[in-house]
């Protein structure tokens, strides 16, 4: 494996993607007075509070009213603004889903839905707060595009990218700190991906906090003489079709690792795509069809077998098949 990436996962530096979001919003706000931000009583958690402090007249705390927040964002954007709307993933994509579908997406408004606290790593708050179906929910809506921040710098880049692009986006961020994987020179684009480790034996496709476990799995496989290609599919809709086709053609199969239910996650979307274009062996390391529970983030990842061990096992199953 590449020395650089090994160094990054073996001597990890940790930071909060949501802090990257808050700080980048401030940077964007300084450059562009057409940026408006709304939140729903979670500004301190989503980090939109940084923007609120700098630009109080371009920030609206809508209080605990997510559905209202989303349609309000659409209205504000119709006056020529780029509007960022944030709360926890479950309340944004869940409570306000139909507002997203029938207003934000159907009307193709310039609204950037940026949710933090996605996935099981929300931790002790428990199942009510763990969004495990957000990718499925938002992917199903035409016009919606989806990105996922995997670390600090990728989040900085993705926030800038969705601000530049016209139209509605959903950006998924975790609650927890993430291992820093990227450097200043790395570039991100719509429909793109990043290959974090090269190899032609097996491909591991992941995003968000599962990248760390995917890279550990690749390291373990490497010890067994198996070279795994690890891809950060930070652009989830559209995803990087070329990278997926190459993986299908050049490696023995694909393991998709995600902090999301198997129903309608990135894994099932890649499967739908490949079944039509290049049938390939695919295995899934994702949440089964069940609710989460309270626990510490790492314990929960282990409990639900969202582990590097599972990724190794599934990779070996494909290779030895």
């Amino acid at each position: 494996m590449d020395k650089d990436i090994l160094e990054k996962i073996n001597n990890p530096k940790l930071s909060y993607p949501r802090v990257a979001y808050g700080k980048t919003l401030v940077e964007l706000g300084q450059q562009n007075d057409k940026i408006v931000v709304v939140d729903a009583d979670l500004a301190k958690s989503t980090k939109t509070a940084y923007f609120q402090e700098k630009f109080p007249h371009r920030f609206f705390d809508m209080g605990i009213s997510e559905a209202d927040m989303v349609t309000t964002a659409a209205g504000i954007s119709s006056c020529g603004f780029t509007v960022f709307a944030s709360t926890f993933s479950i309340f944004l994509t869940g409570r306000a889903w139909e507002q997203i579908r029938n207003t934000v997406a159907y009307g193709n408004f310039n609204v950037k839905l940026v949710a933090t606290h996605a996935g099981i790593t929300v931790g002790p708050d428990g199942a009510s707060h763990q969004a495990l179906e957000d990718i499925a929910l938002i992917s199903a809506i035409p016009n919606m595009k989806i990105m996922a921040g995997g670390d600090y710098l990728s989040t900085v880049n993705l926030v800038k990218l969705i601000a530049e692009q016209k139209g509605p986006f959903y950006l998924r961020l975790p609650r927890c700190k993430a291992v820093e994987l990227y450097s200043d020179t790395d570039k991100f684009h719509l429909g793109g991906s990043q290959q974090l480790s090269s190899g032609n034996d097996i491909t591991i496709i992941s995003y968000g906090l599962m990248l760390q476990r995917s890279l550990s799995a690749a390291q373990e496989l490497n010890k067994q003489g198996i070279k795994a290609r690890v891809i950060d599919m930070y652009s989830i809709k559209p995803f990087d079709y070329d990278a997926v086709l190459s993986a299908a053609g050049e490696t023995k199969g694909i393991v998709v690792a995600e902090e999301h239910t198997i129903k309608g996650g990135l894994g099932s979307q890649i499967a739908t795509f490949l079944s039509q274009h290049q049938p390939t062996k695919i295995k899934y390391v994702s949440m089964k069809d069940e609710f989460g529970r309270s626990g510490e983030p790492q314990e929960l990842l282990d409990h639900y077998q969202l582990t590097s061990n599972s990724i190794v096992e599934k990779s070996l199953e494909i290779i030895n098949d």
């Binding site: 009583d41 009213s65 559905a67 309340f91 931790g123 009510s128 707060h129 309270s294």
Partner: protein, 275 residues
């Protein structure tokens, strides 16, 4: 149940519940102290003041009164009270939020005896409570339904959909208790989005509205024990409370909404409660 107005006993229970809340959250390392502490007298009045009819050994007893903690993040106060009432062993309280615990971060009916419905997503509990009230009406069951709603939670539109529904259906068996502690997460209600005038709003939706001091046990018992008229207006009790009540450094401090005390803070809190 008959009214228990032994206030010395009830006050002692309140003190014990406060200690349980702080201890549970301290051991969990996360949780919501502020909005749990503001509810202590209200919950103690309901469960130990002789207001609610319930059988801890038979949680699904059909004639029980129902309590829905719409502001589900106050789970610690609910669990402490349910344990004290005998639904489950008190020594399990410190398993709160742990991976194999039946005491989930937010209430879950399938996990915990005595919990009626899942809550934690604000704005849903009041509506579920009204559904229960309508269900009981169909069954001609005379049990009462109580929903405990946060003042910030009043910002959810679904609260006012239910307000209109319950007013329209004259669901007199439903009582909403509003924990009016003036704080939400991003600050004071006035700095975020004030739901005032709360009394006028509920009244306009055809509710009967009363105000009480939410830490005054005699006032609470007096109000909660008034007979209800099943096919008349639902009742909203605006309970004036202090977030973090009972622990000096937590009172009225917005930052104590959702963090656990560290060891030093825990000891200080326990000293105050013991003193």
């Amino acid at each position: 149940m008959s009214l228990n107005n032994n206030y010395t006993e009830l006050k002692n229970i309140c003190k014990q519940i406060r200690k349980d809340i702080i201890t549970m959250i301290y051991h969990a390392g996360s949780g919501h102290p502020g909005g749990s502490l503001s509810l202590v007298e209200i919950m103690v009045a309901l469960y130990f003041g002789g207001i609610l009819n319930y059988k801890p050994d038979k949680p699904d007893w059909s004639d029980r009164d129902r309590l829905v903690l719409s502001k589900g993040h106050a789970a610690p106060v609910l669990y402490a009270v349910l344990a004290k009432a005998g639904y489950f062993p008190q020594e399990d309280l410190n398993s709160l939020r742990k991976i194999d615990s039946y005491l989930q971060g937010h209430p879950h009916n399938l996990s915990t005896p005595g919990v009626e419905v899942p809550t934690g997503s604000l704005g849903q509990g009041l509506s579920i409570a009204h559904g229960i009230a309508l269900g009981l009406r169909v069954l001609k069951n005379k049990a009462r339904v109580f929903a405990i709603v946060g003042d910030g939670e009043l910002e959810e539109g679904s609260i006012w959909e239910t307000a209109m529904s319950a007013g329209y259906y004259r669901s007199g068996n439903l009582t909403a208790i509003i924990d009016y502690n003036h704080l939400q997460i991003d600050g004071n209600l006035n700095e975020v989005k004030s739901p005032e005038p709360i009394t006028d709003k509920f009244a306009a939706f055809n509710w009967q509205v009363v105000e009480v001091d939410g830490h005054d046990l005699p006032q609470l018992l007096d109000e909660l024990s008034k007979p209800i008229n099943h096919d008349q207006k639902p009742k909203a009790i605006i309970a004036h409370t202090v977030k973090g009540k009972g622990i000096s450094f937590m009172e009225n401090v917005v930052d104590w909404h959702g963090v656990a005390p560290n060891q030093e803070q825990y000891q200080k809190a326990m000293e105050e409660l013991n003193g």
